[in-house]
């Protein structure tokens, strides 16, 4: 089980780093074994930052992240390597995940050299081919090729195969299908669902709510680093309570309904400092005085469904 406890990430901005920008602001989250949790938000909501902190690509400012009870921020050397045996990530742009001057299957060789030096070459080759078939690729068609000779969907599956070679427990999937075509998108998504059945936990980071709903059990909606709404996916989708979630849902382009209302877009790039009130209040159509004064805390409006909004708190959900 992976657990985030009150995790924050701040960056120093302005002259001499005098001001602080909260990329992630006090987020707590649990991902149980064999569960898919979706992190949903616009760009700048801090969803990728959380993924990167879990992968130890950036440091944590405050709070703790732990895997099966072990705090990951202290891991060093051999222990950190063991951590990467269990936790891996796949990112948005498959083309920039590869070095274009080497063949794409070099990523498997690196895993072999670093993590399984005791495995013989023939046995390893069999393992690679087996894993490639698992992710729905034909090894004959894809091995020994350069990245530009493979499609985005193939490269993305290659990266998932690489993670699987390590026998991982936890996968951070950061917008892994947003650059793919609609026709291959769904195949990669189905692959993730298959892996989940075999006990893999997945943190599915996306801005597309319909995709999140398709494969995940629980979701967390983020806005500017703060949790707006979280809980069981079905409840959030059928009864979105936070105005931000409602806006996001209304913005999803769908084939059965046209958009009805106009969007209220952001007009200001960044919020500096930890704002006193609700971070969404400047865009929120329902904001009232209290929203500017203090930050709402998440309350459970029904089982497995938390919302952080004064309007909801006030009206009793």
């Amino acid at each position: 089980m992976l657990k985030l406890d009150n995790v924050s990430k701040t960056y120093k901005v302005g002259a001499f780093g005098s001001r602080q920008l909260y990329a992630v602001n006090g987020v707590s989250l649990e991902v149980r074994d064999g569960e898919v949790v979706a992190l949903i938000g616009e760009s700048g909501s801090g969803k990728s930052t959380i993924g990167k902190m879990i992968l130890r690509l950036i440091s944590i400012t405050s709070g703790t992240i732990s895997l099966d009870g072990v705090d990951i921020s202290a891991l060093k050397g051999a222990a950190l390597k063991e951590y990467y045996r269990k936790v891996q990530g796949v990112f948005q742009d498959p083309f920039s995940s590869y070095n274009p001057i080497f063949k794409a299957d070099r990523i498997f060789q690196v895993v072999h050299d670093e993590f399984y030096p005791q495995v013989g070459a023939v046995e390893w080759q069999e393992k690679v081919e087996h894993t490639l078939r698992e992710v729905g690729l034909n090894p004959e068609h894809v091995l020994n090729k350069y990245p530009h000779q493979l499609s985005g969907g193939q490269l993305q599956r290659f990266l998932i195969a690489r993670a699987l070679l390590l026998d991982i427990k936890f996968l951070v999937a950061d917008e892994i299908i947003s650059m793919l075509d609609a026709s291959t998108r769904i195949d990669v998504l189905n692959l993730l669902a298959e892996l989940k059945k075999r006990g893999l936990s997945i943190l599915f980071i996306t801005h597309d709510l319909s995709l999140a709903n398709y494969i995940s059990e629980r979701a967390m909606i983020l806005y500017r680093g703060c949790v707006a709404e979280s809980g069981e996916v079905g409840r959030i989708f059928t009864r979105p309570a936070h105005p931000y979630t409602q806006m996001l849902l209304a913005s999803v382009p769908r084939l059965d309904k046209k958009w009805d209302q106009k969007t209220n877009v952001e007009t200001q790039a960044d919020v500096i400092g930890s704002p006193k009130g609700c971070v969404y209040s400047s865009r929120c159509p329902l904001a009232f005085e209290q929203c500017k004064r203090s930050r709402p805390l998440p309350i459970e409006i029904e089982p497995e469904h938390w919302v952080a909004c004064w309007k909801v708190t006030q009206t009793g959900g």
Binding site: D181, T184, N190, S251, V252, P253, R254, L255
Partner: protein, 320 residues
Amino acid sequence: MGLQVENLILYYQTLRGDVHALENVTFTIDDGEIMGLAGESGCGKTTLGHGLISLAPPMKYISGKILLDGEALPIWDSRKMDAFRFRKISIIPQYAMNAMNPIRKIGKMIEELLIARKVDYQALLPELKRRLDLVKLPHDVLNMYPIELSGGMKQRMVMVISSLLNPSLLIADEITSALDVSSQKAVAEMLVEFRNQGYCKSALVITHDISILYQLADSILIMYAGQLAEKGPTAEIIRNPRHPYTKLLISSLPEIGVKYAERKLNGIPGKPPLLLDPPAGCRFRERCPLAFDKCYQVPPFVEVSAGHFIACWKETDGHA
């Protein structure tokens, strides 16, 4: 009037021969029409968009005729096209995030752009500000560097710049793909508003996301591997698609509310053919569940009902 494209053929020159990227493309966009162009990557949609405005090697003009407002577009001659670009035909590029000069303030960049076209910046400034209001950007952005804006704001800024001289045709190349859902919606709505205000007479919206087209386009053209598959009014294409490719493409979209555990969606098996040496006949043949002998010949692009064109033997054999 509007845009008329007749039998356009564009290839890419490579050391191993020509890549047949666009074959015999014929369609029209009427004044005031927003036409969506959709298909998988490699279907030729970006080739078509770029071919219309900046045809540069390795892209190669083979044949075809293009009329914009009744005037022939010399797309094969880059110099002659200078008179049309930005004024008559303009593009919002795919990576609008990186389309602006990072070391110029945005206002200064626009001024230089207009000086190069011999247009008076000061005279245009009030109009520019009006349009900034429309896309909900503060006038301050003119004194900012591109890096100070978020992705969605940059996209909106580039839209304003691209359409500043009221082009006849505005090409929007994947303008929503890199944005999150709320910015996507805002950008799409603004594009429709641009058309309504007459900032562009007609628009060609290139995307792989059909659900976006359903929201904003008047008509949709579906392409596959360089060939036209189907064109028709938006509602017709979504509700009543007739080409097998269109049907598969629409059914592979995850709708909101569908869950893997309850109903598993399927992609389209197989992948598009290589266009260096494309297969004869209908290029969708190998992936098509309905393919039969006749599909070894290229199907004609036939009008089956008002404004609804389709290139498929299975559907048109009875009509032809």
